[in-house]
């Protein structure tokens, strides 16, 4: 192992400090005994206990999870279908326009997306609640799914689909039995991306949520405006923990699958 030069060591320290110091401070103060956020008064887990008693936070968390699950599932279905048509549909009238337009929401300011959705929901007389948040999140996250899935489809060996057709599949069967299982990792990561986007969205949700449904980010944001409480710190720490565990698990699973595939291929090469 090479030793780091002092320049590299300093760069590394500065970079990581920049990224993680705010989060570390937040985690430390979530275990603070004192009600004052910036004054350390000893270790305690009481804020976590109080958090579990707080109905409003628990309700908001439950709304957020439901919205994320529904909207990411819907976005995955729509985004995968869009990606499939744009990559595989051949040349049809307006294809270039459509493939450009599907990426537009990626660069669209969230405020504008939120506002236009709000106007739409008012226009068609849809009461704001969970349904409107789900629809809004689906709208802005499906283009992310479509980007992830289409980048996989571009490198997908077309002859696999042709082989399925040749062996007696209809186009729908070929997609279900061959294409989908092979692109599944991309579809799943698209779903995860949409899920995360929905979890931490504040801007669009605040336009489209109603009094009947509030998501966790909105709840936290409005609570903080009245002053940061250690309870918020505890909640944020829990969210960080969930995300960290999720990311580590996902990367371990991928790494193990890759290692197994590599071993198999080496064994096959030896057998040759």
């Amino acid at each position: 192992m090479n030793r780091l030069s002092w320049f590299n060591a300093v760069s590394l320290t500065l970079g990581f400090a920049f990224l993680y110091i705010p989060m570390i401070i937040l985690i430390i103060f979530s275990f603070n005994e004192s009600k004052l956020v910036t004054v350390w008064a000893g270790f305690s887990t009481k804020w976590y206990g109080e958090l579990l008693q707080n109905e409003a936070f628990l309700d908001a968390a439950w709304v957020t999870v439901r919205v994320a699950v529904f909207s990411s599932t819907l976005a995955t279905i729509l985004g995968t279908a869009a990606a499939y048509v744009l990559v595989r549909g051949g040349r049809f009238f307006g294809r270039t326009l459509f493939s450009g337009m599907i990426y537009a929401p990626l660069v669209m300011p969230e405020v504008i997306t939120g506002l236009s959705l709000l106007l739409l929901f008012i226009g068609i007389g849809l009461d704001r609640g969970i349904l409107t948040i789900v629809l809004a999140h689906t709208t802005f996250s499906m283009c992310f799914v479509s980007v992830v899935v289409s980048s996989r489809l571009v490198t997908f060996d077309r002859s696999l689909e042709e082989a399925a057709l040749d062996l007696g599949c209809s186009a729908a069967q070929a997609f279900r039995l061959v294409t989908l299982p092979i692109i599944a990792p991309a579809v799943i990561s698209g779903w995860l991306l949409a899920f995360t986007l929905s979890l931490d969205d504040l801007v669009i949700a605040s336009f489209t949520s109603g009094p009947s449904a509030t998501t966790l980010p909105i709840k936290i944001f409005s609570a903080v405006r009245l002053g940061v409480s250690p309870e918020i710190n505890a909640l944020s720490t829990l969210m960080i923990a969930v995300v960290t565990v999720g990311v580590i698990t996902a990367s371990l699973v991928t790494k193990r699958a890759m290692m197994r595939q590599k071993q198999d291929e080496m064994a096959a090469a030896r057998a040759e």
């Binding site: 399925a164 040749d166 062996l167 061959v178 299982p181 291929e265 096959a268 040759e272």
Partner: protein, 387 residues
């Protein structure tokens, strides 16, 4: 069956060799009828007609971009002709989608389904036909035996070697017992030694199953080895369709002669010399060459003489009875182990290749660089081709 003798028995009655294409009674399995295929402005196939018979091992041979893959994709149903029709067993198959055709294809990349085991890959097509379970299992086992893959049945495609993957692809495409099997450069990904073994295996399997095979290849040696007939293609047209020996010994054009194997081409002017014999004046101050041709070539016509290097003899003295003999000096020697090819430069700069079998050890070789030598060949050795 007694009332309708099929093409094969018809041919067999006439002679002992399998040659339905010579039998006017034989009904072709596949008929291309004036087929044209265009992609935008590009004409991939140009008003092409071709008959392929049952149980044939038919090779489509040509350089890349000659249209051979398009022919195959039209047979599989992935492309439809722009004009003309393709008939399979007398039925126009143009409107039939690939999944409804009794045609299967072995893909160049093998296109094995990576998420399924070898067993499931082979069973894939049978499952689509809703074949009953005991029959399906028996059929898959039979295919595994045929391709000697029994011990790999439970593995995934990435867990086996390239040669084994090739056999899985073959087993999968044969499992549905298609009327016609299409093979797209099936051996392209294998190394030379494995390729040669696999060629014989393919021929063996074709004979055992009695399936009609159409193979696409750019490797002329492969086409010659496996095929009952070879079609040489260029720019969307058929240049010649014949048995491998006819393609090699009596090519009908300079293109075919040059594409198949090694050849010396000498351009000259023909003079009829009675019967089928012609004199060819080919260079100033050189004696005319003698060649025979059954096809009509008129006096004064520009023509090409195609001579295979192995039909040119090389000697130190002028052979006494040689009909065609020219003198030159050895420019280069390509030593191939079993054979040596001598590149001999004639006084006018023409280079002629002569090939000899190395029946002696190399230290006893008769000629070396810069040696003056005589090249000679018989009147029937060369093929005379009109311009």
């Amino acid at each position: 069956m007694h009332l309708f003798p099929d093409s094969r028995t018809g041919a067999v009655l006439n002679s002992d060799v399998f040659a339905p294409w010579d039998d006017p009674q034989a009904k072709p399995l596949i008929q291309f009828q004036n087929v044209t295929k265009r992609f935008g402005d590009f004409t991939a196939i140009d008003t092409l007609s071709l008959d392929i018979f049952e149980r044939e091992f038919f090779a489509l041979l040509g350089p890349s971009g000659c249209g051979k893959t398009t022919m195959m994709r039209m047979l599989a149903g992935f492309e439809t002709p722009t004009e003309g029709h393709i008939l399979l067993g007398g039925q126009d198959i143009d409107p039939i989608p690939p999944n409804k055709r009794a045609v299967n294809m072995m893909f160049q990349s093998y296109a094995l389904f990576p998420h399924l085991s070898i067993w499931e890959n082979i069973a894939f097509g049978l499952r689509r036909d809703k074949m009953p379970k005991p029959d399906l299992e028996a059929r898959v086992e039979e295919m595994l035996r045929l391709t000697r893959l029994e011990q790999f049945a439970r593995r995934k495609p990435h867990q086996i070697s390239g040669g084994q993957r090739q056999r899985v692809a073959l087993a999968r495409s044969l499992a549905k017992a298609p009327k016609l099997l299409l093979l797209d450069e099936p051996l392209g990904a294998l190394d030379k030694k494995l390729r040669q073994d696999t060629q014989f295996e393919l021929m063996d399997i074709q004979e055992k199953t009695g399936t009609t095979f159409v193979i696409v290849t750019h490797d002329q040696e492969e086409a010659m080895t496996v095929a009952s007939r070879v079609a040489v293609m260029d720019q969307g047209k058929l240049m010649q369709v014949a048995t491998p020996d006819k393609i090699y010994e009596t090519p009908n054009s300079v293109y075919v002669a040059d594409f198949i194997g090694d050849v010396n081409i000498i351009q000259g002017r023909a003079t009829a010399n009675g019967g089928e014999t012609f004199q060819i004046d080919w260079a100033e101050g050189q004696a005319p060459l003698t060649a025979t041709s059954a096809s009509g070539i008129s006096t004064g016509q520009t023509c090409h003489l195609a001579i295979r290097p192995e039909k040119v003899a090389i000697s130190a003295e002028r052979p006494a009875d040689a009909i065609n003999a020219v003198q030159g000096k050895v420019l280069d020697i390509a030593y191939l182990g079993n054979l040596s090819t001598y590149h001999v430069e004639l006084p006018n700069g023409t280079i002629i290749k002569a090939q000899t079998a190395n029946t002696r050890r190399i230290s006893r070789r008769s000629f070396t660089w810069e040696d003056p030598v005589w090249l000679s060949w018989t009147a029937t050795a060369a093929v005379l081709l009109a311009d």
